[in-house]
Symmetry: C2
Subunit: 603 residues, 2 copies
């Protein structure tokens, strides 16, 4: 089953082959940023939707500010790639410049936003589908879950394989959007650069408070998430990694500015308003192509690119979690690579979290947007200020203009972070503001724990050597049969002190057992106990405590449990339920060695 | 956590106390049948909805036929209680009269329908809520899941406790419906027994084929599911169990006839048509009370009684599964009673299956109805024909009229089953028709497997006695530290043949390990292996195969794995991941004894 879904395992040497050319890196690493064209402007407008047509024109200056912010951030991130060719992005920069705790803050912020990227992109992608097929609206949540599971399986198969498969939708999306823009501008030119439905410019409705405008701006900034993915993944590029990553980032910036700016402008000119059941981008396409082929084509490429956007997080999250696990801020399991060289645990954890988000927020992109992008802009801020510090320390060539760029980028990011936290606090941003410090606290505790344990485990090889101890083996039995005989044989093989332990639910069964036991005449001592709760766990635990308190108690108390080895996998549900329960409970009990002795069923 | 949700454990003696008085049995065991008033008539009408007003009058004769069928079934089931005071219903009767395979067929049919009852009742209950609060419509599936989990927890706490809490909604529902009927008839009387919207009687629209009428009838029969619950649960009644169960069944029949007949008639008189977003019962209440207090009151009692209806299955499914497990048709785990004396495994399995149904059918009652009731009517048929056979065999007092009643009931049930299977086949009934034989096949295989195993395990106590064997212990190590020293100490305690096994991912690490090992100078042999897949599982497996094939190989090959015992529960995610994986894989490997040696972390 695993083999069919995931494919055969790969060797470590294959790790080197998993490098990305620019042509492949752009779709994989930039689909998050590019695909936000599908929801960014809509997220901004929906904050002002209650005003109606009168508020539509304000979308345009907001979009312009977001494009300016994009340019500043692209310039800043070109420097990050230059300064940190080994990747890690905000996490690496912040750790390096301000110490591990600042790194932890940036790392945790990014992990949160990677998770949100998956939830937002998938739900927005499904919205593109339900715009084309409104019948599917009530299936939103199941479709989202299906989408996430699909991406998870792709990623468990390995990055490069995904890349070949995944590069086309992004290019098709870019081509579709640019083509639509060209057609849109020709159409607009023919109409004399003005439609009769184009909203009036310049009259500010008085319902439009500063808070609303800031919220709209903050929501629109969701279009900028994901531009850090390239700098994080610099080492995955083909040689020369730095130059290739920078070129890819420049292309991303150019395309995003063109696509976001163009569609926002055309949406404004067409006077389109947000609708609960249709996406703005879908409506824009419909206004040119009605429900013809191109409309459906665009909905499907939008869907596909948003699924890829979710996939961006599958490059980012597991890699970052592995870096943080290497630094002991996260459980070590994130460091283990799977059979197919991907960080399987990170991939699976990300999928589970995203599915939870989709279910809790019912697959509504608009409901998720307020949680989104705080983390990204917080990490942007840390990365940029970290870089400023670095330029001031190294004073390398061009440090003055370099630090000027990063100061500006950092300043803008900090402003956006604060605007986000304040303006969207009551809409859901508080959730992130609560979870962020909790995760930071968790990271610190994890690190401290690993350090303590590492110190405790270190030994002086000359002093501490393994040596034999006294051992007792306890075998819980439910009767006398072949399995019990086998388990007792094992017990006798490893210790000369063996006790069989029987739990009866009434006095008669206990007496019967004692009689049969003496008939069997094995020389092994039998201890019986009566359970009022039909549970053999409690009496066994009590007995183990008694044994532990014996005078001259053995150093190792072993409980030997039979394990039926079934011939067919599904036979497992017919056996071993008690055995699994006993083992699980005993594993967490102090000082008990648990041994499972296999018995092979003949059927 | 478990304690808070489930409560403290109960002793076996408390089992006797879990008996039901008539006053408690009626709401618990009859809520399924009674609550179907909320969807039965609507299910029938929705089959004819495409015809519009012209088809409405046909609902009335269909309802009349269903009430007649109800009377026949109640009379038949009074006999079942009389003949089988130990409960088990169709399963017991069919097993008893036609042998275990017929019993299995009836049992499996009932298990399927118990599961569907939970899914149908919960989704219909949530529909009552969304009729009152249409804003919640898009949250249907999460609300259904929440409902099922709530009922599961109640039932894991134990039946009688649930009863005290659960009896009121059914009574409130009965009172509400009867009160609404009284008001409705007074209203109708004042209007001269005719409204202007009352549909014309007697004109048969030509779109109305026989197939449509049969479908409407079959869907309406969903109102009769659940009447077998009382006979199944006869032994749970207070003494005298038979008389009390029969009286309760008579009350059920009377109430169901009154409530189903009355609301169907009033719905017809008001000329109400089915709507996708509102229930018929809700619209009927609205026609008398608008959206006043009583409307909301009825919606909530309808919701509550439908949740109780789901609860009926929580009395039936686990008990039946336990009976079938006792007869070895189901995995033994269904026989185990939990801490609180309920059959926990049955309760949990039922909940999981119902949640899957709700998710797959998107919480739509109408989509689930075609799957529903085939199983119930199949088991009705088997129970009635079984009873006929019994009367012919025993020829006890009154056997002639008794067998006449059961023949009639059995005949009607068989007709309904066939109508269901044919008319609804393409609408979803085929799913049940496919799953039913699969489950029967599963049951037969399970029984055969348990018999084979039981024969295999039986021993001649005089011949087979436990005796010691030769043992080798293999300890996989990742380095030299306190944990490894502890695990090796255990290994030395139980065998004089111990091998440490190290897997390196490159040659340098292997050489380093070998040097350190010879420095440590423990006298224990070290075997190293190189892994290209960063996995220690494969090399270990290869090594175990090698050991198994040694000349004079030991009888027991033991793998000792260290287990970190953490001080805080959440520290487990920081450790033991590799250990858990190794243990899981080794447990299913032939002839390997797996031992976990605890190591206590100081933090």
């Amino acid at each position: 089953m695993k083999r069919i879904l995931i494919g055969p395992p790969k060797k470590s040497q294959q790790l080197r082959e998993e490098r990305l050319s620019k042509l492949k890196a752009l779709p994989i690493l930039s689909s998050d940023a590019l695909s936000s064209v599908a929801y960014g402007y809509q997220a901004a407008l929906s904050e002002m939707a209650f005003i109606g047509v009168a508020g539509l024109w304000i979308g345009l200056p907001i979009a312009a500010v977001i494009v300016l912010l994009l340019i500043a951030l692209i310039l800043s991130y070109l420097q990050v790639i230059h300064a940190y060719p080994n990747g890690g992005g905000a996490y690496a920069v912040a750790s390096d410049q301000f110490g591990p705790i600042a790194g932890l803050v940036a790392g945790v912020a990014l992990l949160i936003d990677y998770t949100l990227t998956v939830a937002v992109s998938v739900s927005s992608g499904i919205a593109a589908i339900t715009t084309a097929y409104p019948n599917l609206l009530s299936w939103t949540v199941p479709l989202c879950i299906l989408g996430i599971i699909g991406i998870m399986i792709m990623n468990l198969r390995g990055l490069n394989e995904s890349a070949s498969l995944f590069m086309w939708p992004t290019y098709l999306f870019i081509i579709s959007i640019i083509a639509m823009e060209v057609i849109g501008f020709i159409h607009l030119g023919q109409a004399g650069w003005h439609y009769k439905q184009t909203p009036q410019f310049g009259v500010l409705p008085k319902e439009l408070t500063m808070l609303i405008i800031l919220r709209a701006f903050a929501s629109g900034c969701s279009a900028l998430t994901g531009i850090e993915a390239i700098s994080n993944a610099t080492p995955q590029f083909c040689e020369p990694t730095t130059r290739n990553a920078q070129k890819t980032l420049l292309w991303l910036g150019l395309l995003l500015a063109l696509m976001f700016g163009g569609t926002s402008y055309l949406t404004y000119m067409k006077g389109l308003q947000v609708s609960p059941n249709f996406t703005l981008l879908g409506m824009l396409a419909q206004s040119y192509f009605h429900t013809g082929f191109f409309f459906y084509f665009l909905q499907f490429t939008t869907f596909a690119v948003l699924i890829l956007a979710a996939n961006t997080s599958y490059s980012g999250f597991p890699l970052l979690a592995a870096l943080m696990a290497r630094d002991r801020f996260m459980p070590r399991m994130f460091e283990l690579r799977g059979d197919r060289l991907g960080y399987s645990n990170g991939i699976i954890v990300l999928s589970v979290l995203a599915i939870i988000l989709v279910v809790v927020f019912n697959g509504q992109t608009d409901a998720l947007i307020p949680l989104y992008a705080i983390g990204v802009f917080l990490s942007f801020t840390l990365a940029q200020t970290g870089l400023v510090k670095r330029w001031f320390t190294t004073r390398s060539k061009g440090w003055i203009w370099r630090s000027a760029i990063n100061s500006f980028g950092g300043f803008l990011s900090a402003i956006v972070t604060i605007v986000f936290a304040v303006a969207k606090f009551s809409q859901g941003a508080w959730i992130v503001i609560v979870i962020l410090p909790l995760l930071i606290y968790f990271g610190i505790k994890v690190r401290r724990h690993y350090h303590t344990i590492a110190n405790d485990l270190r030994i002086n090889m000359a002093q501490l050597k393994p040596h034999a101890h006294k051992t007792i083996v306890i075998v819980p039995i439910g009767g006398i049969n072949r399995v019990v005989a086998g388990t007792l044989s094992y017990a006798l093989s490893v210790s000369d002190q063996v006790i069989a332990f029987y739990v009866g639910f009434d006095d008669e069964s206990i007496e019967l057992m004692e009689n049969k036991w003496s008939q069997w005449n094995t020389g092994i001592r039998l201890v019986t106990a009566r359970s009022q709760y039909r549970s053999i766990v409690r009496p066994l635990m009590r007995f183990l405590t008694t044994v532990e308190n014996w005078e001259g108690a053995p150093d190792h108390i072993v409980v030997a449990i039979p394990q039926f080895v079934t011939r067919k996998w599904w036979h497992n549900i017919l056996h071993n339920q008690t055995s699994i329960m006993l083992r699980t409970i005993l594993l967490y009990r102090k000082d008990i060695v648990v041994t499972t002795v296999p018995y092979h069923l003949i059927d």
